[in-house]
């Protein structure tokens, strides 16, 4: 297939699409609230009214406002319905001809939507993730074509470097630099791995991207493969995401059938295939060296770096590992250019970031915002603050590796460096809001229990340190601890942080340290009298 074919598919698809499209969310969250039934009923109602030639219902990916699902949006008039039940379906179709819908009408211009800037999620919730034609119709695989025919691997890497894109998995390593390192390595066999082992509790950005727009990730991986000289890619997805796995499998199959994956992609000499590997429930496998062990069929034990996977990764070959969201940014950068991309965000953090806004917050769901927006804007303006008049006490970012940011620091801009400075981190994008009734020591204990369970046990500081820290926190919560125990806790935190083998251990004390730093009163109040 060549460019003309791609354009023909896009044209055909645009012809096929009906004038009025009802987007019905079919992501995991909405499916749990009967959205598939809603979709079926909408379809039946359209048939019953004989509107099939100008109205269609499309099962789409995530629209973002998960807390108010199932969502149905009528395009092009943009009318949004929230918390739709299967019984509402018929009235929604009637409303197209002037009737009144029984479903609750939402506001598509709500700050939750209006303040967003959608690059990765541009077509999430607008296209059917199970049909490659819809992806091609919105410009899909054009970036891959451009890379293959108008750019060399070196200029692709240059473009990514210039864009200022940094790894979206949490670490924030410059993506262009990583690509350049892999490209420079000698050897005929290299690999590209997409890390979709999204393990941070409270985070579901990657799941949503994979469920809503899987081809976007495949296209990014193929471009990466071309740039670094790899012909084989793997996506490592956690088993807890069955729908994402299903849609990825379908997407890979369709991409192969259409000649945008496989051999001689788009009639160029470039070959690239992608295989899926499914995790088995181990948080540590999000760490890149552990992930490679797991793809090789072993226990997910990390190993010391260097050598980094870029030098010696999967099967000992140079390997590029990026997160789902990182790959999902590539298409936009190649299409619109590095200058456009680097004009968004702050000096050292470019582009946008997706956050999963959850916890004690009125509007919960997924948002994509430009870097540099403040936490206050996200939590209070977009999120609407704590429901029922409660107060924001803290915002947790970065999952078990991050920290709790107190309400007094809500004016902090969201970028890699500012968050690190206040003892938290960007992380993969979980943002959990806590209200005045949340005990911060309990939160610290919750995360420590998580790390205690998830440590792989290879290095001693992490294996035993997390257990001892958990014991100390439990002792404190039982009001049996002394001030000496608190001193011990603090020094133990430093020790685990400085001496653990991998990122899991090195960051495990962060939730304790950040709550100790900002909510010390709560710790001291629990000390044995």
């Amino acid at each position: 297939m060549d460019l003309a074919h791609l354009q023909a598919i896009a044209e055909q698809e645009k012809q096929r699409q009906r004038a009025i499209r009802l987007h019905c969310c079919t992501s995991t969250g909405c499916q749990a609230a009967e959205s598939l039934q809603v979709k079926d009923n909408l379809k039946k109602a359209i048939e019953k009214k004989g509107l099939g030639d100008r109205v269609e219902v499309v099962g789409v990916g995530c629209m973002g406002f998960c807390g108010r699902g199932p969502l149905v949006q009528v395009e092009p008039e943009r009318k949004l319905y929230e918390e739709v039940t299967p019984e509402d379906a018929e009235s929604i179709i009637n409303a197209l001809e002037g009737g009144k819908a029984t479903a609750k009408e939402g506001d598509p211009d709500h700050p939750f939507f209006a303040r967003q800037m959608r690059i990765v999620r541009e077509h999430s919730g607008e296209i059917d993730p199970e049909r490659i034609e819809e992806y091609i119709a919105v410009g899909g695989y054009q970036a891959l074509y451009k890379a293959l025919y108008e750019m060399t691997p070196a200029t692709v890497i240059e473009e990514i470097t210039k864009s200022g894109l940094r790894g979206r998995g949490g670490g924030g390593y410059p993506t262009g630099l990583k690509w350049a390192t892999v490209a420079k390595m000698p050897g005929n066999q290299k690999y590209v791995i997409c890390n979709a082992d999204e393990g941070d509790p409270g985070a579901f950005m990657d799941r949503s991207v994979l469920e809503s727009d899987p081809h976007l990730v495949l296209e990014g991986m193929a471009i990466a493969g071309y740039a670094v000289g790899a012909n084989h890619g793997y996506i490592y997805v956690r088993a807890e995401y069955p729908l994402a796995i299903k849609r990825l499998q379908k997407a890979i199959q369709q991409a192969k059938q259409n000649g945008v994956l496989g051999t001689q992609i788009l009639e160029s000499p470039f070959d690239f295939k992608i295989d899926i590997r499914i995790g088995a429930g181990a948080f540590v496998c999000g760490e890149e060296t552990a992930l490679i062990q797991s793809i090789e069929g072993g226990r997910g034990n990390p190993r010391p770096r260097p050598p980094y996977p870029a030098e010696r990764g999967l099967r000992g070959c140079p390997t590029l590992i990026n997160n789902v969201e990182t790959f999902a940014n590539i298409k936009a950068i190649i299409t619109k250019g590095a200058d456009w991309y680097s004009s968004i965000g702050t000096a050292n953090s470019k582009g946008t970031k997706i956050f999963a806004l959850t916890g004690k917050i009125k509007n919960n769901g997924l948002i994509e915002v430009p870097m540099g927006i403040t936490l206050r804007e996200i939590v209070l303006e977009m999120g609407g603050g704590v429901p029922d008049g409660g107060e924001v006490k803290a915002v947790q970012t970065g999952g078990p590796s991050g920290g709790c940011i107190p309400a007094s620091l809500l004016d902090t801009p969201v970028d890699y460096d500012s968050l690190l400075k206040i003892g938290s981190m960007m992380g993969s994008g979980g943002m959990v809001v806590m209200d005045q009734n949340t005990s911060m020591v309990e939160v610290a204990q919750f995360y420590m229990e998580f790390c205690r369970e998830e440590t792989c046990g290879k290095c001693i500081p992490c294996r035993t340190g997390t257990v001892q820290l958990h014991n100390l926190l439990t002792k404190l919560l039982d009001k049996r601890a002394t001030t000496q125990d608190l001193e011990l806790m603090e020094s133990l935190c430093q020790m685990v942080k400085e001496t653990s083998l991998c990122g899991l251990g090195q960051t495990a004390p962060n939730p304790v340290l950040s709550t100790w730093r900002y909510f010390r009163d709560e710790y001291l109040a629990l000390v044995k009298a």
Partner: protein, 166 residues
């Protein structure tokens, strides 16, 4: 390839081994396929009994210790049989902040078991998950593969009563 494949020796014993054989064949006996083979084996047997682990070890020509090591490393693999129904309470941060702990406490008390155990009548296995990524509808519970959102102690327990009644 060995002269007598494990399939030929034991296919008569249990059809479920066939599923494992297909996966072993696809990986051509490559040890890299171990995790996928374990997934398939657990799907077809419900859990990984010793005999199954031995069978896989032979199929991939790996020491049993290594197969056991991998099977016990990952949370999703179970070496014990589960109940007729499974109830997984998500304990991700969003669910936790919204009271998933209370749901677990209620279920533990009503079923008389702890998380990770199966009720005495063999009906319900109670598990907790790290995060199923359904944070938008927290607290979430997965009963027999169906995700239920915005749960509380009563709604989850009534679902379980319903299941047990069947």
């Amino acid at each position: 390839m060995v002269a007598t494949t494990p399939a030929k020796q034991e296919a008569k014993v249990d059809k479920r081994f066939k599923v494992i054989d297909v996966t072993l064949k696809r990986h051509n006996g490559n040890p890299e396929g171990l995790i996928e083979v374990l997934h398939k084996a657990q799907e077809s047997f419900g859990y990984l009994e010793e005999e199954v682990l031995e069978y896989i070890a032979r199929g991939l020509k790996l020491p049993l210790s290594q197969v056991y090591g991998v099977a016990t490393f990952y949370h999703l693999f179970s070496l014990k049989p589960g109940g007729a129904h499974t109830c997984i309470v998500c304990m991700g941060t969003a669910c936790y902040v919204k009271g998933a702990g209370k749901i677990i406490a209620t279920l533990e008390e009503n079923l008389g078991i702890k998380v990770g155990e199966t009720s005495a009548d063999g009906q319900v296995s109670l598990l907790s998950a790290r995060c199923i990524g359904a944070c938008g509808i927290a607290p979430a519970v997965v009963i027999d593969g169906n995700v239920l959102g915005k749960q509380d102690s009563e709604s989850t327990w009534s679902k379980i009563v319903e299941l047990k009644g069947e």
